[in-house]
């Protein structure tokens, strides 16, 4: 069946076209989830959001040093796809390859309920069956830079960032057989926000 559709019938190595164009400035954009969230579906679950509600981009300490980025700095991740630019915060870690940058994709919704989108929630009283007025989340002040720090591609305020806006999903750069998006195969340039423009 693969043979008929023009693909090799046996598993073969095919160079990802984007990687051929990689220069020393480029980093691999990796996306994924952390242990407490299940893909992007649990971003409205209060108990899980309390544990993980902040998704800065992970970047190796040495790479960040070369780029002049410090922990918690605003950075810009630039790719050739989607909205082309993601502004987010950096988290310096030793637990990532120097040529890679990781952004968690479980957060950064713009349509998924109050907790996931705005960081606001309503409590429901099961005894009186009354919904209380909207409250700001209890974890807003801890490490979060404040409302308005994250914007979706249309400029609306949202709770956190999503890397899905800048990954490759056109015909040329997706998996030729399965059609999977380039979840971890997009190459990006990273720089400190505000400078160099």
């Amino acid at each position: 069946k693969f043979h008929k559709s023009g693909h090799s019938a046996l598993p073969t190595y095919v160079q990802i076209p984007l990687f051929e164009a990689m220069t020393s400035d480029h980093l691999h954009l990796l996306t994924g989830t952390v242990n407490v969230h299940t893909q992007a579906r649990t971003a409205n679950c209060a108990w899980l959001m309390e544990i993980n509600h902040y998704n800065p981009a992970w970047i190796n300490t040495k790479t960040a040093e070369n780029l002049g980025i410090e922990d918690g700095d605003e950075i810009e991740i630039e790719s050739e796809f989607g909205v082309k630019r993601l502004e987010c915060r950096a988290k310096l870690t030793e637990g990532i390859h120097p040529k890679a940058i990781f952004v968690q994709h479980s957060l950064g919704h713009f349509a998924y309920g109050g907790l996931a989108t705005k960081g606001k929630y309503k409590e429901y009283n099961y005894e009186t069956k009354e919904e209380q007025s909207e409250k700001e989340v209890w974890y807003a002040e801890e490490e979060w830079p404040g409302p308005g720090a994250a914007k979706d591609p249309k400029g609306r305020d949202i709770w956190a960032w999503s890397p899905n806006w800048i990954i490759a999903n056109d015909e040329e750069h997706t998996d030729p057989i399965g059609g999977e998006h380039a979840w971890s195969d997009t190459i990006v340039k990273v720089r400190k926000a505000g400078g160099g423009e």
């Binding site: 242990n35 407490v36 108990w47 309390e50 870690t93 030793e94 637990g95 990532i96 974890y139």
Partner: protein
Amino acid sequence: MAEKRYAMVLDLRRCIGCHACHVACKSENEVPFGVFRTHVRYYERGEYPDTKLYFLPVLCNHCKHPACVRVCPTGASWKRDDGIVLVDYDKCIGCKYCMAACPYGVRFIHPEKQVADKCTFCVHRVDAGIAPSCVNTCIGRARIFGDMNDPNSEVAKLIATNPVTVLKPEKGTYPTVFYISNSVKEVE
């Protein structure tokens, strides 16, 4: 028969840092948002490519010589004969002395009741003869609970056959929450 002495063993070789204990505790004890009775701390050590991430679940250590009980001005913090340290919510005035005295920082002020609160080893479950909620839910069986005075119990055997350590032994509190690990010293 000897008196009971409840203890918990945290086998960090088996902990995967999944926070299931954290969520199970909140669900069982109706712990409000923003505070926690048990939590998993993450520590990153080493430089790339020799990086390691250590998980350290923390909870009330139910010490043999609890600092919180000693400083409590109203006698609200008290220790049962079986070693479980509890807070009497009717006596507590919310003065936070115990929070300052606790070397482990596991106490908090309950935002609705305005009293000090902490892990109770799920005393309502233990009295009914079942294990605490976090022990029950732990997917790696990293948390083991039992009577350490009973030589046939699993905790007593684990303590006897493994090099166990406690958090901050220099404080002289003699915790009954034991850690099996070679990493506790590194993260402290």
